[in-house]
């Protein structure tokens, strides 16, 4: 009896043990793309309990569960093992990105209630829903092909630098045993950045045009177009190992999702390529703002300063954070004009990306003030191009004021020399000087005189005029000279006429007229000979003229005495003196002497 009981216990023991170890396993992806369907599979190693589904997030649309139970009894070496399994498959679509926790599911077994572990799922944003683009693209991609691969792009028209989310998806209607040799083209004109994609383990069922396909995401990545124009993406190639059954199929087992263990299969490699795609890349509108550094997307900017009061020569961190969705990796550092006196080092750049194009980029500037005082860190303006708005958006951060105090390190002081020769003036840039303000005198420029012929005619005219004047003067001089010569020639004759007349007068009744005639004869003779105008005649001039002609002093004395005598006798006839006849004789003798001398 006792032994029978023992046998019974030993027989029941495995069953009891199995019943005691009820567990609920949950199998869910760690991350999924928003809008894309994913599976959550609960596996319970029991069949007779009641499954309490978890409270899914209300935004999720859940379909299912697809429940299947199985009971597997094995006899191995006379030992029976019974495995009961319940599988519940939920198909979930999460519309909004984020991090979600799926609470534990509960399973009420006969003896106890067990819970599954809570699951965390990261729902990432993939732009547009890939299934929507599947529909747009028209599935299946190639009618009749059993295995195909498609590159799903969230958009086909972008601006330069605007990221494109690409999903490489596999569609198959047949069993695949493996995939290898994923070959990417060189993506000419693009910069490719892979997104962490969980390795493809299970294919999902998807009914496309009434045909059930197994689908799976091979790889997701971002493409940043670098140049404008129609850019072609060359086919991506993969080698799929296609299982070909040797034996003709039972329709039940002709199922791509479950391996058919019972048929013998051979693996045949088959090359699968994606159809080429063309993307229209628009260039960014011109002109680009000066502070545009290549950032394309929807961003916001913040800045932070570690301290606003600092000792001289201490370090200061100034960080500018660019946050948003776009080509973060390609966004250049903002141009910040730090004030002079603050030493600036090249920024340390950190990119934090959440797997997709969204994330943040931090530019950290290390600043070391070298002078004391109050410094203004200018506001930063950073222009990005927002493809949604089709325009440039300028982002701004506030400016900061830093107060730098202290006299620097003691070590620095010992280093600095006792005399400071003063700092050289720093020339920051070169620019032209400012315009002249105020009014100006605008003159209409006359033509150059040098270019006009009349200017040169003036010279000719001046020369001609001068020549004419010269000729006239010469002529005048010549004529004057002629008159003098004539007078000179006629002087002696005139004098003789006067003397003859005086002689006749001597015999007349008026001897005093003789004196007048004699003096006139003398004056005229001297005036003509010495070329003195009548009006200018004086005794002194005559004497000077005679002396110039080297006349002897005796002649001048004689002349003077005759002139004095004739004048004296003229006005006082009764006076004593030479008689008129005597005077006439002396005058005739003097004229004779002068004539021989002056000729």
């Amino acid at each position: 009896m006792k032994s029978f009981l023992m046998i019974l216990v030993s027989l029941l023991a495995p069953l009891t043990v199995a019943a005691q170890e009820v567990t609920v396993d949950v199998n869910a992806p760690q991350s999924a793309v928003a809008g894309e369907r994913f599976r959550i599979i609960y596996t319970v190693n029991s069949t007779d309990g009641r499954f309490q589904p978890p409270a899914f997030d209300p935004s999720f649309s859940v379909s299912g569960p697809q429940t299947s139970s199985s009971r597997n009894i094995q006899w191995i070496n006379g030992e029976m093992t019974s495995v009961e399994t319940t599988t519940l498959v939920y198909y979930v679509v999460a519309p909004t990105p984020g991090r979600y926790t799926i609470p534990p599911a509960q399973y009420a077994a006969r003896k106890a209630t067990v819970s599954s572990a809570p699951v965390e799922i990261e729902i990432t944003d993939a732009g547009t829903v890939p299934s929507a683009s599947d529909n747009r693209g028209g599935q299946p991609p190639e009618n009749g092909s059993e295995v195909s691969m498609r590159l799903i792009l969230n958009t086909r028209e972008v601006y330069v630098g605007q990221p494109i989310t690409a999903t490489l998806k596999l569609y198959t209607r047949i069993n695949l045993s493996g995939l290898n040799d994923l070959k990417y083209p060189d993506f000419k004109g693009f910069l490719r950045e892979d997104i962490d994609t969980p390795p493809l383990r299970n294919l999902e069922a998807e009914v496309i045009d009434g045909v059930q396909h197994g689908t799976g995401v091979l790889q997701r990545f971002l493409l940043y177009p670098q140049i404008a124009g129609e850019l072609r993406i060359d086919p991506i190639e993969i080698t799929a190992m296609v299982q070909q059954r040797a034996s003709g199929g039972d329709p039940f087992f002709n199922d791509p999702f479950f391996d058919n263990f019972f048929s013998s299969v051979t693996n045949v490699p088959r090359s699968v390529v994606t159809p080429p795609a063309t993307i229209r890349v628009k260039s960014l509108p011109s002109p680009q703002p000066a502070d545009f550094q290549g950032a394309v997307g929807a961003f916001e900017i913040t800045s932070d300063l570690s301290k606003t009061e600092i000792a001289v020569n201490d370090a200061l961190t100034y960080s500018v954070t660019l946050k948003g969705k776009g080509n973060l990796n390609l966004a250049g550092a903002p141009v910040i004009n730090f004030p002079q006196g603050i030493e600036k080092y090249d920024p340390k750049v950190t990119v934090r990306s959440s797997g997709t194009a969204a994330g943040s980029k931090v530019f950290e500037y290390l600043l070391i003030p070298r002078n004391t005082g109050t410094f203004d860190l200018p506001p930063v303006s950073y222009t990005v191009f927002d493809p949604e708005l089709d325009k440039y958006v300028t982002l701004r951060t506030p400016g900061y004021t830093v107060k730098v105090t202290g006299e620097g390190d003691a070590a620095d002081e010992t280093v600095t020399p006792a005399f400071i020769p003063g700092e050289d003036v720093k020339y920051l840039g070169q620019d032209i000087r400012f315009i002249r303000s105020g009014d100006t005198v605008l003159k209409s420029v006359p033509g150059s005189l040098v270019d006009r012929s009349y200017y040169w005619l003036w010279y000719a005219m001046a020369v001609l005029l001068a020549g004419a004047v010269l000729l006239f003067r010469r002529e005048q001089i010549r004529r004057n000279a002629d008159i003098t010569a004539l007078r000179n020639r006629r002087a002696a004759r005139n004098a003789r006429k006067r003397l003859a007349k005086a002689e006749t007068l001597l015999k007349g009744s008026k001897p005093e007229l003789v004196y007048a005639e004699l003096s006139t004869a003398l004056w005229n003779y001297l005036g003509d000979k010495l070329a003195i105008p009548r009006a200018d005649m004086t005794r002194e001039k005559c004497y000077a003229g005679l002396r110039a002609k080297n006349a002897g002093e005796d002649i001048i004395t004689e002349l003077d005495s005759i002139l004095s005598a004739s004048e004296y006798s003229r006005y006082s006839p009764a006076s004593q003196g030479d008689s008129p006849a005597e005077l006439h004789r002396r005058t005739a003798a003097l004229i004779g002497k002068l004539d021989s001398m002056l000729d």
């Binding site: 002249r436 105020g438 605008l442 001046a462």
Partner: protein, 252 residues
């Protein structure tokens, strides 16, 4: 459509208004535009005043500045050079010209001109062509007067003095005449030109046939050697010669 018509009428009115302005008013207006950082607007007005035939040192200097600020370095150099012909010693003009030249792509090793040529040119630019010409003519007439005195006066001390006065005023007159001619050739017939196209190919013959000899960029100063149709033979500062399109250079 209606809006655009209104806009056109408005534009026409403003254009009329602008053209009705005296050059002094336009000049002032351009200065205001410059102060308001509308450099290309200011430059356009300055150029129009220049094209209307008005000249002043300030106008040319400001025009150069406006072109410089609006990015047209070649035109800036042209106007600075023109301003320098009016006022060769002005420090601002020379400084800005030097700054503008530093922005020119082509760099040439140029030998400076002989010092007496430089001095002579500088001296000739101190007065206008016509000032020199009138002075020269006046001195020539004075010298003729002294010649007349010398020839008609009788031999005495005054004769000798008038001879020297005539000689010296004749020499002075000739110097001034040569200054007038030099000034005229610098100001009115300058053979220097500045490349205005951003890039120009110099060829070995006028027309499209010749071999390509060199490539010069905007702002380079060249000397015009010969003009033939739409082509001009220019000499580069380093002495090389080549034919370029006439429309690509502007004479100073």
């Amino acid at each position: 459509m209606r809006r655009s018509i209104v806009l056109h009428i408005l534009l026409a009115i403003t254009a009329l208004h602008v053209s009705a302005q005296t050059p002094e008013e336009s000049y002032r207006h351009a200065g205001e535009l410059y102060s308001a950082s509308d450099f290309s607007g200011a430059a356009a007005i300055y150029r129009r005043i220049y094209d209307e035939g008005y000249r002043s040192e300030d106008l040319l200097y400001n025009a150069g500045n406006a072109f410089f600020k609006s990015g047209d370095i070649a035109s800036a150099i042209i106007f600075y050079e023109r301003a320098r012909l009016i006022s060769p010693a002005d420090e601002d003009i020379n400084y800005n010209l030097q700054v503008a030249r530093s922005r020119v792509t082509d760099k040439f090793e140029t030998l400076p001109e002989l010092f007496f040529v430089r001095w002579f040119d500088f001296f000739s630019l101190l007065a206008s062509t016509n000032t020199w010409a009138v002075l020269s003519l006046a001195l020539f007439i004075v010298s003729l007067l002294f010649v007349l005195i010398f020839l008609t006066r009788s031999a005495s001390g005054g004769r000798l003095l008038s001879f020297w006065l005539a000689l010296s005023s004749l020499i002075l007159s000739l110097i001034m005449l040569s200054l007038a001619v030099r000034n005229n050739s610098l100001v009115s017939h300058n053979r220097k030109a500045v490349v205005t196209c951003s890039i120009v190919t110099g060829k070995s013959a006028p027309g499209d046939g010749g071999n390509e000899l060199f490539v010069i960029h905007a702002g380079t100063t060249v000397t015009v050697e010969e003009e033939l149709g739409a082509f001009t033979e220019v000499r580069l500062p380093d002495g090389n010669k080549g034919w370029v399109k006439e429309e690509c250079i502007e004479k100073i």
